[in-house]
């Protein structure tokens, strides 16, 4: 059996490599011609065989050039990374052929055949995506139903936020503390007041009109700021030696972690008003914020608990031996170390929070995904679902990918410090 198969060897390196490369070239040529010029050179073969012909020819070619320690650096690199066995050779070919076959149509749809110019659906004459849809609705996707004339308020609130966050990187350490306090406690109130209005001559805009991407940011930011301290106390409560506090915390955490967010939102929409005195009306957005905050606080608590558990017992004992009480021990010694340990976990929770915000559609608040849903049902823009979701997906992807990259960097930076 072994004699039938030619074993590529170093002695005839040039001939093996030449013949192998030729076969690989033929297989690629066949696929390229098939994809771009609609030519089929292997049409004379039975249909199944013709379909797999490039794969078979390519695999044989890759088999022939699989020569270990050939002395040729490029060849060795190819063999190690793409061609270490027959199985890997086939996988390599499948991936490359799939890329050749499917990337061009996707690119064509996305960019080359897409329509960018115009203002109505009828302007989309090309076969590709109709980005006119996104262009026309862009304002709504970002600001929701917020009145056009008042949108500068949202803009300035966010510019202020970015300026403050940006400044926090440059100010001296002494002032950083105050900036952070301002950012966490004063800014949210200013920002909220600016966007909701009602005072200082600003027109009141009800929360039902808020929406789009800005609402995604508002909900995530507030939920994060609020859920962090609650989660911290829950985590401490769960590790407390006092049974009543411990069991209350455990019950609270496990209750929220055991149910889906959507039922919690349903609860905030239909069950929560039943628990309040008759006639009390709590704003929809505030109810949603409470629901998301409590939900995420339970997850945050578990993340922080992980950090608390990871600290060596010696830290607690050392703090106690200095005569520190429970709160001083935790706030001066334990939490600063534990929180540093759980930064990646906190970032992951925040990421999950951002990805969960579209769910607020169940109470009728429409952020980006909800606005796309609304826009695609507009009679003038039917059949634009694909464009809308691809756009929304891309926006969310950029936000989440950047955040996960940032948290990975942070993790790496902190791990070298230790």
């Amino acid at each position: 059996m072994k004699n039938i198969l030619i074993k590529p060897s170093k002695e005839n390196l040039t001939s093996f490599v030449t013949f192998g490369s030729f076969l690989i070239f033929v297989s690629f040529f066949d696929v390229l011609a098939n994809t771009f010029f609609n030519l089929n050179f292997t049409a004379f073969l039975p249909s199944k065989l013709s379909y797999f012909a490039p794969l078979i020819i390519g695999t044989i070619g890759l088999y022939l050039i699989r020569i270990e320690f050939s002395g040729n650096k490029l060849l060795d690199k190819i063999n190690i990374n793409f061609n270490s066995s027959n199985f890997n050779a086939i996988l390599t070919l499948i991936v490359i052929f799939a890329l050749i076959k499917y990337i061009p149509p996707i690119l064509n749809w996305f960019f080359f055949d897409a329509n960018f110019i115009g203002n109505t659906k009828e302007d989309c004459t090309g076969s590709g995506a109709c980005w006119v849809f996104v262009k026309v609705w862009f304002n709504r996707f970002v600001y929701g139903m917020y009145p056009d004339a008042e949108q500068w308020r949202i803009n300035s609130a966010f510019i202020m936020l970015f300026a403050l966050v940006g400044a926090s990187f440059f100010v001296p350490l002494r002032l950083k503390k105050y900036l952070l306090i301002f950012l966490l406690f004063v800014y949210p109130i200013i920002g909220l007041k600016l966007i909701s209005g009602g005072d200082f001559g600003l027109k009141y805009v009800e929360t039902g009109a808020w929406g789009g991407l800005s609402l995604t940011f508002i909900v995530s930011a507030f939920a994060l700021i609020l859920c962090f301290p609650i989660g911290m106390f829950l985590a401490l409560g769960r590790r407390s030696s006092l049974p009543a506090i411990r069991y209350t915390s455990i019950g609270f955490i496990e209750l929220w972690r055991g149910v889906p967010l959507i039922t919690v939102l349903f609860m905030s929409a239909v069950m929560f008003p039943m628990f309040l005195p008759d006639g009390t009306y709590v704003d929809k957005l505030i109810r949603v914020l409470i629901a998301i905050t409590l939900f995420e606080a339970a997850y945050m608590a578990e993340v922080i608990r992980g950090g608390l558990q990871a600290l060596p017992k010696g830290q607690y004992e050392a703090a106690k031996s200095l005569g520190m009480g429970y709160w001083r021990m935790h706030f001066l010694i334990i939490l600063p170390q534990a929180l540093k340990l759980v930064i990646p976990g906190v970032a992951n929770t925040f990421l999950a929070l951002v990805k969960d915000t579209p769910l607020i559609f169940v109470v009728g608040l429409l952020e980006l995904a909800g606005m796309v849903n609304l826009a695609k049902t507009n009679p003038k823009w039917l059949g634009m679902a694909m464009e809308g979701y691809v756009f929304a997906g891309l926006v969310f992807w950029i936000i989440c990918y950047a955040m996960s990259r940032y948290s990975q960097n942070l993790e790496r930076k902190l791990s070298t410090e230790r």
Binding site: L91, L255, G258, T263, A369, N373, G393, S404
Partner: protein, 392 residues
């Protein structure tokens, strides 16, 4: 009594007691406040707290049900339909997420640069897009692009995919119970045989071909029932029927609705990314020395993977994967967004709108999810304990 020596007793015991009493007191206060308000509100609306409504006639239809159901059935049965649909989509999702996740996780560690990169990008793309958007994408964009009923995509004349769903053959069994018992018998035999084989190995050093015997049993015994037990299996293949000049439907077979397809697709593709990361971390977490040690005592590559690497990797993989299974089950509630009749849509949606019993229905729904979550985590904890390191 000398007042100078009087001190409030702040010994450790009391110091511990005060915050606890305070917590319990506050908790009770909040609960009482909510209960009074709830009673007031329900009194105003003329409803009283109770679960009697569950036996009332539901009078709404459900598009997809695993058990017989129509509008004349009770709310309790509607709840059961929703629960079964939730369990169905979660099980399908868990199955495919595991399959895909393990494949991609191993792919990320492949020597092949292209495979490793492809797996990495798969994870990066699908992990960072909100699940709800993925569900919307599959349901409203991708599956809506499928052909109409009349020119369905044909899979070998037995199964058809079109915009109305996926039509697959229905299995029609005769004497199914015999077939079913044969599988149970096969499983029991395998368990005993594995025990016997282990004993043989431990006592006499004999290696029995456990895998082949088990494989033969689980395939062979059910096959034998076809020959001798009178078990018959036939298929009801869906057929295209023309109702009027333009209206076509498929009759017969099983129709898998697009809601189920898109939900299962999105759930498994999204969760698979997390499982892939767990698998990768698990395999990377096994010490290199372990593999080298195993190789040095002469185990083959397959044996190393099966006997040395996997048992240790599984210990790292299982706890976070359990969490992912739980997440998938909870995420299946997003079904409500595309009107797949799961427990949230049927019960917390339609039934709640009809009866207005918010407190009862939301509590039942939440309790159901809590018990689903608890049962999965209990099972996985049991499994985790079984494979944990037995420290002496």
């Amino acid at each position: 009594m000398n007042l100078k020596n009087f001190k409030i007793d702040l010994s450790n015991k009391n110091k511990d007691l005060i915050p606890q009493v305070l917590t319990v007191f506050l908790l009770v206060l909040v609960i009482i406040y909510f209960t009074i308000n709830a009673q007031d509100n329900m009194g105003n609306r003329g409803i009283s707290f109770g679960f009697g409504f569950l036996s009332q006639e539901s009078s709404f239809d459900i598009t997809f049900s695993l058990i017989d159901y129509d509008g004349s059935d009770s709310y309790a049965r509607a709840f059961l339909v929703g629960l079964l649909n939730t369990i169905l989509v979660s099980s399908i999702g868990i199955f495919f997420a595991t399959l895909l996740g393990v494949t991609v996780g191993i792919g990320r560690l492949s020597q092949n640069y292209l495979i490793a990169k492809a797996a990495e990008w798969y994870v990066e793309i699908f992990r960072n897009i909100p699940l709800i958007l993925q569900i919307f994408f599959w349901y409203f964009a991708a599956l809506r692009a499928l052909p109409l009923t009349v020119d369905s995509i044909n899979f070998y004349d037995i199964s058809f995919l079109n915009v109305k769903g996926w039509y697959v053959p229905r299995f029609i069994w005769t004497n199914f119970s015999i077939f079913f018992y044969s599988i149970i018998v096969a499983i029991i035999t395998i368990v005993f045989f594995t025990k016997y084989a282990r004993k043989q190995r431990d006592e006499f050093g004999k290696q029995l071909p456990t895998f082949y015997v088990s494989f033969g049993l689980i395939i062979g015994l059910p096959l034998l029932t076809f020959l001798f037990g009178g078990v018959r299996l036939s298929f009801e293949i869906p057929e295209l029927e023309q109702l009027s000049t333009t209206v076509y439907v498929y009759k017969g077979g099983v129709s898998i609705i697009p809601e189920l397809i898109s939900l299962a697709l999105a759930l498994s593709m999204y969760t698979a990314t997390f499982i892939a990361e767990n698998v990768r971390a698990g395999i990377l977490g096994v010490n290199k020395g372990q593999k080298e040690a195993a190789a040095s005592i002469g185990l083959t590559k397959g044996q190393i993977l099966k006997l040395v690497v996997m048992p240790q990797a599984l210990r790292i993989i299982i706890p976070p994967t359990t969490n992912q299974y739980l997440n998938l089950t909870k995420n299946s509630s997003l079904a409500a967004a595309i009107a797949y009749p799961d427990i949230v849509l049927v019960f917390a949606g339609t039934a709640l709108m009809q009866t207005g019993r918010a407190i009862e229905i939301i509590s039942i729904t939440m309790l159901t999810y809590l018990s689903l979550s608890l049962s999965i985590s209990i099972f996985m904890n049991w499994y985790n304990k079984k494979i944990a390191i037995k420290e002496k």
